[in-house]
Symmetry: D3
């Protein structure tokens, strides 16, 4: 049902562009195996299945991939992006000439495997913090060229998105702090001055490396305070010090093992780079039924 | 030295296109944080370092990324693609205006982290089979849009490349076999007929799911026989049966734990999809020296 | 000085892409006039000047345009984006072979004229509300393909940016309200539910068409309330009713004549579509000195 | 009827490319508002209407925009490009799922508003010179990236097109004249020599800044003489001097107020840069009928 | 029937991209002739015919071209890529509105004429060596941007493809040999070392300029030996010397007159650059039936 | 000297785009041969030479190709586009690291060979009609994607360009005539009506298939009359009938053998499709000096 996916969906022109680019990359000047051994008249029904349990993502994109190679293929989704599925679950059925189905198979699987891997890992983090009130959020540590897709996969796994890129969020990190120090400019002044020129919808985050910097971040008027590489105890003390005057976000080296404890510190957000930079792919496959 | 990298290098126009696309994706209409708090006149020296041991990859691309944002930056590589490095190793130094260095940081790190992750994982597999004569090879399970880069990373890790895509290698897989069966056409005929029409430089691989199919593949004249999902014992028997008349390749579910045993079966190649679809990123960072 | 431009600057790869596309559009297969009558050895110095007073914008882009046609040209900026200038002011000097300067002239002028037109009109609105505390903001009514540039021009004129597109801001408009009504879903519920799934940095705006909807928007927890097509009196009453619990934004049919009165109602933001959809170009020209 | 539009129409692949690019620019990674509050099953009928009188342009492009987001939408044009319409006129109806209609709305309106603005302003100039025999023509002062569309809009407004770019027309302007003088080369020689090498279909225009240059332009064999920045009296004298041996074109600073007098001088063409560089958008909107 | 075409076919997304690019190139901002003189309601049936005998190629691409301009056109292929046809043969029928058919005509003919020219010339070479066992192969001397299409046309003419580009085949040419000599490195060592690092599916070819280099190439373990610019006698001696230990390929200055004699030397492959760099177009035309 | 080339030159951004696209096509993921056998430190000087006499074209593009792969290469042109050269003539010298020179060689040669082939064939036609006053012109029968380059090559050979595409010239061909007949509309009316709506710089050509259609074309006010597939006698009679009231152009099946006689009929233009659709490449090569 409609609630399972954290919208919004990726727009059709984006899906179409990514599908065509991936097909050109894999097919090059054509599929020499399929075209030389499979008769043009052979038809088949194939089912995209999950070989392991997880959260699926990328099914609309898979459909776009198949149709980009042959618009006559009949495709039916039997699951939706964001669904939890068991090993063996059928996700999508495609029926028609066997050649384009065989030629598009790998590209469709590569997309669904990777995105479902991200969604599934995200879901594990989200489940781990259930009930604490903390949100799991992604980072900008995404695959170059696939950010919109990967952030969509995080949403499908129940996570939330951080800024999309450097334009739609202000985040003062340790190196900006050092640059300000080098220029002899107080941080709160710099942040307040920046806010005067930012769009009103742009959130202001200030990263702090130690508890002694929290007061300064509050003075700067941060909407969010990013607590970098802190122990659970430090996180709890920082949350207390902030006292609701800004959102608090834990960041840095948080794993599936440590995320629950971090969440219990009371932070609002926990950002996890591994969601996108190190998620193993979900094992998915295309099963063919030649008697169909 | 020259031997460390498995050539060939990615051509400059490809690096340039990928760097620009990734920068546009991350920067959007500009870096609101850096431009609003860091003075345009501030300069800095920054060092790209490995935070963990591994095999590095993507340094030429990182250079291209920085220069695409500001061609006046001075860049020095202190390691080379394919080098094994320890945690803390300096890989690249960039010096110049702080703004473009800060704005390009994440894109450069995303490329180097991901590619070095692939190279490092590949190296672990290659080391695990050392002395057996087996080669570790990649698959087509790559990130859509980044195949050339990821296959380059596999080479940097000491692995070898399978076909680049569906055009430059003939590989008859289980579904092609099923399609032939459905069409009532004997496999050896189909393969021999295909070879008549393939370019002479295109290798012919036939996948077999059981030992009973090996004879048929040999009869078909395969250059390579892909042994899918077999136990070490089955692999050894298949190698014996082939008797050097074709290359043998183990495939399917091979892990770092099982790869050595598989290699000892005497197969020539072991393909590992995880090299590209599930390698965790290597932890890399950019350290700034504001007094430089 | 540094304060004159509302950062951030447009990234170099974006400037380069836009400059090349515009040059290809205008030059086609080449400049038949210049190449046939101007000797290849003729050199010249040309000055980009404002023919009317205004706020200039697009000078970095003009530089990129000239260099894309001939990287050997020497270019000097004598003004900066965001500067107020008088008629006759010199903005940029280019020196070198006459052919590329003549061939690139129109593209450079088209960019600078259009962007300076937007910056200049924005400045007039900003000046008109000076001292009231209201900010002038843009809309999504931009030229397709040039949004980043045009929003940059608004910043150069002292205005502020609304969301960049449909991804980085939540704005519930009258038609969304109608869709909710058609679906029988209360607005506050829908907005609160949406916020649960939005990224934490995404601002929530609710448009209201009449004072009776303000309470509902507040109940929904809007960060911003957009007051559409209201009289100054209605605006003042709405501001009072909101009482600082959300930002207030006036929108709809506001002109240079009416903007001051609207601002005096106490609203925080005034959005003006005409900044980008109807700004006349600033008159700029390239003056040549053939004795240079 | 068929005469209302000055053909030719923009080819479908161009419309498709421009529509997709504009949608990607506005939608980014998706429409967060619509997807989170409007149920996927809600359908609607929406009507694109003119809020002010004018000449409409861009309706085929609007259709392409809607279909690029969802090919299942049913679209009906109720007016044609080039039609004069009154305020309130219905231009296009779209029916289907509400989500893609809401998400595509702004892009469709931006195109139609801008192009109709150009067509409407052109029509005012064309009407102003009715009966004089003078044609209103555009210039190369168009929006970078949208020249073909904007020149199409000029045709829809009853105007005519000047050359499309620097490749398809020879126009010797004041700076070329100065370059010739600097090189010590007589203008008539240079023009006659150029014509020997031009394609036979390329028209030759020579700009003159004063009456004393007209004879030289005639001697050069110009097909057209561009009379730059002249008073009506100067124009009339120039027309008499040319005596039908070349087309005459008035250019420079001509407004809606002055265009009739300029036309009565007897010139054949009057070029107006403002048609494309400073036309205000026509006010258009999308009205939704949720009970449809 | 299925055997006439040497598969694989060019993938649909590639055809679509090439068709759209070519249409934009030819149509620019529109077809001024057709749109101004042919009524929008006129329909027609047109037949693409061969005006000379030859082997046809590019019919799927022609269909893609017509549909890219108007998806409502009804198209029927009456021949297949790779078919030998006589002068006058009907190849494809298109029926529908006359405007898009007239506007797309030239692009469709340009593709089919050029590709059929290559297929037809290839077929003449293939026929000339019939019975000798030699294969005709292409080179990398293709039109920039059209390599995949042109290599497909070679296959349609009965020829075979050499490597697609520099990535998928190792070919040590005379200049590489000279570079090795300059570096003081023995060729066999270099080749054997290279093979250690090449993908296992990459064929190794060594070019020899004289018989004295054949032994060295064999020692290097070449899969193929390219015999450059040799007389038929030299070719025969080289073939004897190789004795089946590698494929042999004749190359350099082979014409339709000399190819038979070269083939009779016993070489396996004969590469002919002229197939793609100098094939005259096949004369094709579009015949219109206005009474249809 | 400056007169040898028929300007205009192809703009730098176009050359750069074409060079990069061609390099990506040929190099794919890298040059496996060069990178594996040629040391990175080896340098060389190479000379691009003509192996046959002809007119050279594409040298600026060749320079762009080499620099796109390695901007550090030193390049010197020793001939210019449009020069007639003898076999053995040196055209361009490139010096620097051997790897990028070897990797870019084929792309540079493909461009120069093809474009010089067109220029050389054009020159033969131009020489054949010397003294008759007839111009040799090209057609739209160009390679898809390379029209601007190929029309430039025609100019370099002394030919002239017809319209660039369907937008910048009105040409009523036999099928348009048939469409008019089918619609019951007199040709002269249709052409005069079209001219009212065409840009003033767009030339009007009417094709005639027989002498009986010449009067009608003149009545229509054609600027040019295209005499299709006529004998020299028919051409002469048509020229006499036109009597200077329009340009006359011979077209259809004209060869190097027949072009002189056609020219002596007194026609102004002779269009030859073979210039671009069937010109054999000029034999060019890159000679390496390893001792340099």
């Amino acid at each position: 049902m409609g609630m399972r996916t954290s919208a919004p969906a990726i727009p059709a022109p984006v899906l179409s562009r990514l599908a065509r680019r991936a097909l050109e990359e894999d097919l090059g000047s054509g599929d020499v195996t399929t075209d030389l051994v499979v008769p043009a008249t052979t038809t088949v029904r194939a089912t995209l299945v999950a070989r392991a349990a997880g959260v699926v993502c990328g099914l609309d994109l898979a459909r776009t991939v198949f149709l980009a190679l042959d618009p006559s293929l009949e495709i039916q989704l039997t699951a939706g992006d964001g669904d939890r599925v068991e090993a063996g679950a059928a996700l999508l059925t495609v029926r028609g000439p066997a050649r384009p189905i065989l030629s598009a198979e790998r590209v469709a699987l590569n997309f669904v495997g990777r995105l479902s891997g991200i969604a599934s890992l995200t879901r594990r983090y989200v489940d781990a913090v259930e009930g604490t009130g903390a949100r799991i959020v992604d980072t900008r540590k995404t695959t170059p060229g696939l950010r919109a897709l990967e952030k969509y996969a995080v949403r499908c796994g129940g996570g939330h998105n951080h800024r999309l890129g450097l334009s739609d969020g202000f985040m003062l990190k340790d190196n900006h702090r050092a640059a300000l120090a080098a220029a002899g400019r107080p941080l709160p002044d710099a942040v307040r001055s920046a806010r005067q020129r930012l769009g009103h919808g742009v959130a202001v985050t200030v990263e702090v490396d130690g508890l002694e910097q929290v007061a300064e971040a509050l003075e700067a008027g941060a909407d969010s305070i990013l607590l970098d590489n802190m122990t659970p105890e430090q996180l709890a003390r920082a949350v207390a010090q902030v006292g609701g005057r800004a959102r608090t976000e834990a960041s840095g080296g948080i794993t599936l093992e440590s995320v629950r404890v971090a969440a219990e510190s009371g932070v609002d957000l926990i950002s996890v780079g591994a969601l996108t930079h190190s998620a193993p792919a979900l094992d998915v496959a295309l099963d063919f039924d030649w008697d169909a």
